[in-house]
Symmetry: C2
Subunit: 614 residues, 2 copies
Amino acid sequence: MTSRTTACLRALVLRAHACSRHHHHHHRTISTSVQGHPPTTTTNIPECYLPANSRPASSHTGPCGRVVSLRSHTCGELRCEHAGVKVALYGWVQYLRQDVFVVLRDHSGLTQVVISRDDNMPTGGIEVLAENLEVLNACRKLPFEIKDFLKKSESLRMRYRYLDLRSSQMQRNLRLRSRLSMRMREYLCNDHDFVDVETPTLFKRTPGGAKEFVVPSREPGRFYSLPQSPQQFKQLLMVAGVDRYFQFARCYRDEGSKPDRQPEFTQVDIEMSFVEQTGVMALVEGLLQYSWPPELGTLSWPFPCITYAEAMRDYGSDKPDTRFHMKLVDISEVFLNTEMEFLKSALSQSEGSIQAICVPGGGTLFKAKDLEALKETARTVFGQELSVVVLRADGSLKSALSKHLSPADTEGLLGKMGARPGDLLLVSACSLHTVRPLLGKLRLQCAGLLEARGVALRDPAEFHFLWVVDFPLFLPKEEDPGALESAHHPFTVRGQHYDLVLNGCEVGGGSIRIHKASEQLHVLKNILKEDDSLLSHLLEALDSGAPPHGGIALGLDRLVSLMVGAPSIRDVIAFPKSFRGHDLMSQAPDYVSEEDLKPYHISVTWPPAEGEGK
Amino acid sequence: MTSRTTACLRALVLRAHACSRHHHHHHRTISTSVQGHPPTTTTNIPECYLPANSRPASSHTGPCGRVVSLRSHTCGELRCEHAGVKVALYGWVQYLRQDVFVVLRDHSGLTQVVISRDDNMPTGGIEVLAENLEVLNACRKLPFEIKDFLKKSESLRMRYRYLDLRSSQMQRNLRLRSRLSMRMREYLCNDHDFVDVETPTLFKRTPGGAKEFVVPSREPGRFYSLPQSPQQFKQLLMVAGVDRYFQFARCYRDEGSKPDRQPEFTQVDIEMSFVEQTGVMALVEGLLQYSWPPELGTLSWPFPCITYAEAMRDYGSDKPDTRFHMKLVDISEVFLNTEMEFLKSALSQSEGSIQAICVPGGGTLFKAKDLEALKETARTVFGQELSVVVLRADGSLKSALSKHLSPADTEGLLGKMGARPGDLLLVSACSLHTVRPLLGKLRLQCAGLLEARGVALRDPAEFHFLWVVDFPLFLPKEEDPGALESAHHPFTVRGQHYDLVLNGCEVGGGSIRIHKASEQLHVLKNILKEDDSLLSHLLEALDSGAPPHGGIALGLDRLVSLMVGAPSIRDVIAFPKSFRGHDLMSQAPDYVSEEDLKPYHISVTWPPAEGEGK
């Protein structure tokens, strides 16, 4: 036995059998007692048949009381009323004090075990008096202690994930995720007749599937593809008459190094026949209400619903964080007769507009470097200059704009913005397609700055669900604005695409699908200019009496991370990859011998070494 | 509208709104009535608020009665008591009779809809009188009719899987699978505190993982591997203190063309800390009892349990079909003093034995070609000659052996075998390692032959679960009998490996794992001669206070296929691959352009064309 500090480092697995202290079974080698403080009545119950206090008795026993587990109770389960009861506990040593007290830990909590046999009675609601302790496994010196307050580097956490997962926060995250999934399944399967159907992950490459991993087969040149979603399969299941399908689907996306993305992720995938948009939305609201953990409060419904146009107009984003205001305001009319060249030129261009947001308290709270950071965002991300107007506490304006504004214009501007002394106005003038996303982004940046200055703007315990509807069917391609791409995906019925947003993050998206082959062909061939032969099986299926259908997919990792307030989805995934796509524990991906690649008829094309290439 | 035959071929999606016939709402354009036969009382209920008869009302509505689905009832739901009720039905046209009667089909069943408005009242419990029918989609001429009795080729079924799945048998299979999974989850998650944890499928190649698909990454030469099971992760989760883990895990195995195997399959993966073998077995028995569909009868428990040695001794198999007898009998002692050379030589070799099975009625039922087929199996699969002894109906023997047997020996043999006139004895003499699998295989072949001759030997509605325990830890490698391989896998504690067998098929396997790093290292390094550096992360984890733990994995596809009596696991998988690993609907795996392979630094090594190679 070692000192307290060292003992915390050594996670020994212990076994503590216990029996009634009031019936000193000295003939038993394995026995202790549970002491209540104050002591309560004593019951002697046959070992291993103890009903658990806070969980179903069946948790420890199987059918007809057959023993499933060696334990009688978990460490977090014992209460005063267990005094005198025989228990069998299993866990890890959290603390060892003076070789007398052992604090035993498992996933449910802690219990103090007294090793000494003298009749001392320490304070505390309950403790276990050990007559026998068995060390089940020894432990090397761990790379870090299992303590919640300990800050560990991300790479250390990932390399020793099996230790990192022992923290109470990660235990809570995994258990909440499991519980949420179970409740969702109950709602879909038991209450709404959905069928849980597993669809293949070894599939065919989809048109434009640049982000799909390939999997070589044993036939030369032929590859499977790991799909980004079961979209085709869910629609085929509707054609197959499955009527209501759901799946917690593993999806794959090869995006190289994007922060907070994972090469594999999970979506709650839902599809229904004979349904309209309102039906899918009502179903999802019911789903979240039913499965929402009570400790996170209750969800009110129906969820608010705004159009894509309203979201872009008011928040400059198609996934607005509605926990705070600071909405975008069109102030073009204030400047209709302006002499300022950059404003005039902005207004004269097609869809030109002058817009602003008002940051309450930003005028006094933000420092010069904050304003510079905001301008920097406008410049680097959007290629635009940003005008700032500081309202001093005395009501006077500090701005390059102010000298060009008449008192009436100033009054008009402040009135329109609802600005008060101490506030900050951010003004941008350019085309609508730029000014909205620009101010939308600055709005979030300002929220972060305000919070860094101590303003309680967004309550992490508040959950603002929001539907965004009436998306345009097609948007100009980001890389090639002359061509169009689907706003959602090419199987969507016009104007029937809906996104679910939580606290400014997209947590779901769906649509009513095109169910007529001729319409689908038109969209693929004439509008999106895709090679429709790659989807001939889907077109054939639609032509086989496909029912009207629609659905949604919820991003489970993102949803859970918002629910538990985790900064990254890596905190709600048991074994995530690093942002470079590596498993730091096992060192995957790893080198594979040429011999092992032979059956797949592939060989590695090594890039020229540094300094070697042309 | 077309003739009946053509209409059956055309699966049109229809919409039939209905209202009370007793309240002729002629002002409504979309209305029909439901007629009971004999008519019962009439209730007029607001549309879309109809309580469903056989399923929860919430199935059609969301929270607080908000409408989820457009239908008010499914086609299989209407009963006489719905007479007079307004309904909205959606489905496919199954039959069209004289342009008057439409039989509408959905996943739940059929309903007859009368299009004519005259007051005829045909027989049948209930029908829907349509005032409005809307065709929601048209349909090409299908490659086959959606009729259960229709025999289709496997390749046609696979190519048009979305039509094949419309059959009532496939609908039943998918729905039973979904229901079973749901019940299993309830038992594990709700009743026994298991945590559903998703583990990665993009992982590192395991030692000897010849059957693992590789997935190229964007780093030259580095590959992920699709794991055959989450074995390492489930053990790491125990080290992480998750205590009880389960997952319906997608697993991958690249075996090329093996009949009735799938490159991806699903296992119910379970692991527990602080548990012994009996605990895992009790848990699984409870799991199957809880989730067993009532229509398949009840399961009795505890399941019978035999040792590996007993299974091999009595059935010549480690997964015996215990629905029938025909056990192996050691008849060596009958022949201790035999003069027959091949028997003498068999007995003189190490572990030599003479064994036999008695096939009741085989002597009269089996034809000469049946006996030849049995001998052929012994010859081709095991390289052994088989002796057959036919007991004629008059009690006389027909066998090459008989003239070498004294009357006392004959009596001894027949007595030992419990043979009666009309029976057949199959006798084999060689080493135990051959004679047992040989007779085990012939036992099954004889069962098939007897059933082909009309004997009801194995009841497909009977479900005989059986535990096989006490497996040897290591078995000689099949390919290299001098070396050893793990009977289960290299993480198994000695003598703590158990298999679950159902009707002669292995449906699950598990073990108590090695939880001490030193023991695990010894097994990997000294016994199995594996490269332990590939498992260094697991060894490190065991050395971090790993608790004693064990678990099991159930093969869900196989289990469900046995439950529904399907000849192949392809009948319980929505979109299976062909035996060559192809998706016949989408033509996966498919060719991928060199351009698309570039980011993965691989190129295809084309084998030399026919006649070109050396």
